[in-house]
Symmetry: C2
């Protein structure tokens, strides 16, 4: 079975996800990872060559399906629209739902992934750089195009700015929800992800449409 992942590899990936989300990249040692995964220390270098490659593989494992789902949803919307522009709210849903699905489907490990995303985005050690170029560039191009068709009054640059803003709303909300839970004294939580998605989409749609 060439396409199913080796059991040891999978155990390492899972332990890495959990520990890195909890302690950060450099603060998570291979010794802690292999201890948690109950495998030998040298297994990491055997299966992934190096620690950096392991982290990249860990990020890629989650990111690739998400971006594929995003593009598939957008394809589906554009095919259904028969040449008409896809409504703004549906574009945003195609962009955000695949990420939230990971969270609600995978439970704690899904939430761990969101921490990782924020961590990887902020980390100066360019873990995400090769992934951004390979996995994100087509996604960014396609969604930018769809956005411009849905909001023809926006200039090219303005569309870029506002799409960046929308990404900020989403990333910050899901990745740093504990800050919100703190300042709201527990009143706002991510439990009902469907309601959160609706809130985010409404907020972003209003901001994107706005013409000051």
């Amino acid at each position: 079975m060439p396409e199913t992942i080796h059991a040891t590899k999978l155990a390492i990936l899972r332990a890495t996800e959990r520990l890195v989300a909890a302690h950060g990249f450099e603060a998570t040692s291979l010794r802690a990872i292999t201890a948690a995964a109950k495998v030998n220390l040298a297994a990491v270098n055997y299966h992934f060559s190096t620690k950096d490659a392991l982290i990249l593989a860990m990020l890629n494992r989650r990111l690739r399906p998400i971006n594929e789902a995003r593009l598939a949803l957008l394809d589906q919307l554009e095919n259904g629209a028969a040449g008409e522009p896809v409504p703004l709210e549906e574009i945003l849903e195609a962009l955000f739902r695949p990420v939230l699905e990971v969270v609600s489907r995978r439970g704690k490990s899904g939430r761990d992934f969101l921490r990782l995303l924020a961590l990887a985005l902020a980390a100066p050690g360019a873990y995400l750089k090769p992934l951004v170029e390979k996995e994100f560039s087509e996604k960014a191009r396609r969604f930018h195009l769809a956005l411009r068709r849905a909001l023809p009054h926006l200039s090219d640059a303005e569309a870029h700015w506002r799409l960046h803003f929308a990404h900020g709303v989403f990333i910050h909300t899901v990745a740093h929800s504990e800050v919100l839970a703190c300042t709201s004294r527990g009143r706002c939580r991510l439990t009902d992800s469907e309601a959160v998605l609706r809130r985010i989409i409404d907020f972003c749609a209003a901001g994107l449409r706005q013409s000051a």
Copy 2:
């Protein structure tokens, strides 16, 4: 002069800011910091006790004036409003401008600080935790209150959500501007911070006001 900072202390803080922004917390060694600051290795432990305390001091040095400026601006607005609710756009400006001022005033070291903010926010090692509680709690409370007065149709929880969204727009935009510069192929940049501030405020104001 008890209130002016020791020259060695200042050199260490400056070098730390620059290097941590470039390489991350754990990846920046005290040896690299002291070499860049042209001070002895032991000076860090002498002046700051420990590396973690140094990082906390570095974050605090920038964050405290910013939050003081935010609250001062809000005070000023509320005094000028004479009992009336402060307009939404002005609340947002009081919230965001002090951060952008650091960037435009201090140049490269200001931009470094924004990286640090995103880094510290995402870092699971709770560097920001004590600061969030001390420095941010009053700020969050005051701005939440002002927001509820400006937008009385929002419930308490809804106001918390949307203020969190607005923070996401701002933080993500300023801290990860290089992603936008990349996807927009250089068309969108942070150079004109006044225009960026205007864009962000307009986007957030529309999202905050919206009633889906």
